[in-house]
């Protein structure tokens, strides 16, 4: 499909989300009721809830996808060889992308619209808590897409929450080109069963290291933002490392900020000793357990440790990090350079909050996941990253010499 045809379909999908909002909200009400009866509470219920405002936002997100540049057909690395062959790469769709996800109805619309824009077919398999919402959303946008000329079957939804079907989906080599699990609980299952290529991400143990030469004001803002702007996302701060030389100065400052915001600090003995002297109101600080290192908190909790050197910080990030997003705060050029060189994470930051790891923030328009694998794509996975390329060789009769 050409870009215009795909964009027309996307706009039709956006319109359909509003036109069919009664049907969608009824299905969501069904899910909400079941979730409440099952005793689900708090942010899980909130993630599940659909409202007219949220549906309007979904529609506007789909319109945003329509407005993004189309990666398909883009040529690159073209050269003319000495024998006259014109050799180059052209970006093409990956093919069929399956997404297995938990109870977030927005994923249904996000994945389907991004995949369609990049020319891919989509197979969606959402979590059981949002089954009726997802099913109705998928039916609504798939119908709108088909009516706008998209081939039937380009957006499919698995109308069952039987996990055996996921295992079967994961074995369909030759039919599915990529499986994307969204949600930490699914990754192990997918890795265990996948016979098709996978794109893993969305889980991160993220470090911020405050170096001995850090601007401590900036370091408070950066660490606080990395932890508290949104604590439930994969690039939120999990562990704060602080150089021993500035620990007595810095730790009380960040702890004061976090005490105000209700962040619990799980500290190594050196950090705890500093903080115990600081008399901070409402401070929640307690000794770190061994498994607090390497833990993705997804909560108002931070592991805190004092280190003797940049080397020790690098070692800890190597040992406990997951290659997602890690930051240094420093005014030391050589320390910044070493950190950038030696930390092998999807995104490495100097003097900025790790919360920036996001396709829209990086100028990719949108993303389907933050990849923590090394193959194919790393960090924010936008439209370009859900395509591949083929080589096109244009000749005039060339044959290869012996």
């Amino acid at each position: 499909m050409g870009t215009d045809a795909k964009n027309r379909a996307l706009l039709a999908m956006a319109d359909a989300l509003v036109a069919h909002q009664d049907e969608i909200l009824r299905a969501n009400q069904h899910d909400m009721q079941a979730a409440q009866e099952a005793g689900l509470t708090g942010y899980i219920l909130d993630r599940l809830l659909l409202t007219p405002e949220r549906l309007a936002q979904y529609g506007s997100d789909v319109r945003n996808v329509a407005s993004l540049p189309d990666p398909v057909g883009q040529g690159f690395d073209q050269r003319t060889l000495a024998n006259g062959l014109v050799v180059g790469k052209v970006r093409v769709p990956l093919g069929v992308i399956a997404c297995v996800y938990e109870a977030r109805p927005n994923v249904t619309v996000d994945i389907a619209s991004l995949c369609l824009k990049a020319g891919n077919a989509t197979i969606l398999r959402g979590g059981k808590e949002a089954f009726h919402s997802n099913s109705t959303l998928a039916r609504t946008i798939a119908r709108a897409a088909t009516e706008a000329g998209v081939p039937e079957g380009a957006i499919q939804f698995v109308e069952s929450t039987d996990r055996a079907l996921v295992a079967e989906l994961l074995s369909l080599r030759g039919y599915i080109d990529l499986v994307v699990p969204r949600g930490g609980g699914l990754i192990d299952f997918v890795l265990e069963h996948a016979k098709v290529p996978v794109l893993i991400g969305g889980v991160g143990v993220c470090h911020t290291y405050v170096d001995r030469t850090a601007d401590l004001e900036k370091a408070v803002e950066i660490a606080d933002n990395a932890k508290t702007r949104r604590y439930s996302i994969c690039n939120a701060l999990d562990t704060l490392l602080v150089h021993r030389e500035i620990a007595a100065d810095y730790l009380p400052r960040i702890a004061r900020r976090w005490a105000e915001k209700g962040v619990e600090l799980r500290c190594d003995p050196a950090a705890l000793e500093v903080l115990s002297k600081a008399q901070i109101p409402n401070l929640q600080a307690r000794p770190a357990e061994p498994d607090d290192f390497g833990k993705e908190h997804l909560a108002l909790v931070a592991t805190v440790k004092v280190v003797d050197s940049l080397d020790e910080a690098l070692d800890l990030i190597y040992q406990y990090g997951t290659g997602h997003s890690d930051a240094i705060v420093t005014e030391d050029y050589s320390a910044a350079r070493r950190f950038v060189q030696e930390v092998d994470s999807a995104v490495v930051y100097v003097n900025a909050s790790t919360q920036f790891t996001d396709g829209a923030q990086f100028g990719l328009g949108a993303e389907i996941i933050d990849s923590t694998q090394k193959l194919h794509a790393r960090g924010p996975v936008g439209l370009q990253e859900i395509t591949t390329y083929k080589w096109v060789v244009l000749g005039t009769g060339q044959v290869r010499p012996p």
Copy 2:
């Protein structure tokens, strides 16, 4: 390791292949004798054989790798965001690459040198027929690399031919970043057992389609080169498709050429009928069996079929091709454009031999495999394709707004 240090190590490895040639040739003699006793013959024995000349060629290949540009550290897609963050990608090594391969001693040296140049560690596991040759080659280059400053263990050889160890290797998620099987017989085993990312390639069912408007002289040269220049490589022609309008003119010409070279033609009824009238000396033509379509011959054999249209050719390539290398010979602009657009193979050719699919031919310097998967890399996999990237974000204290 910096580029200079890696290149020094590569030159030391090249020298060591010559300096230790007696030891290597003795080990190879051991393998050759066992192979002869086991009744192996022909090109398998030839692939196994090492000579002083071949070792000198290995050395010269390693020197060529030293002379290639280093992909590591290359920056790209850099931009400055509105908030002042400088965001970009930097190319970095993949990490640890394991290669499982059959009885070709040259693979030991090729893979180790290319991986080292791209900053990767290598784990090599060769076939049992070449065990002593591979083991001695690996020991020789690994020792030379270590003496030249490469960390111990950067080039490792699995000193066993027990297949259970391959299954274990394939399960080492978190330790191995990529497994590359070289040799068609290994792919199914690897796909069955791999819990680590894989790069599949080196197997292809390749089509050349001679369109109704083809320049028939060029079409004879192109199809003949694609089949006979080397018939044992994955991008050799397997199936020749010929448009019905020019079949009576073209088929006898290519058949005459192939009869001279001993190529056997496995024909559909229409092709057989044309050829039976043509009185070609030494022609080997017989009816195609159903499984001749979709078969990688790796021999002086070609499947031949007459088609009614470009559409039929596209359908057959979709049905029987493996997404490796496929060609059209045509003077029709629209036919060429449709073929390039609709054939989704790693390399799509217009008016050229499919034998060009090769890293060195495409200007990549060298290759470790021709990928037929869509994820990560497609077609020739050179130095750049055995790296990944990380995002580097340079800030001055930026935090992300709510």
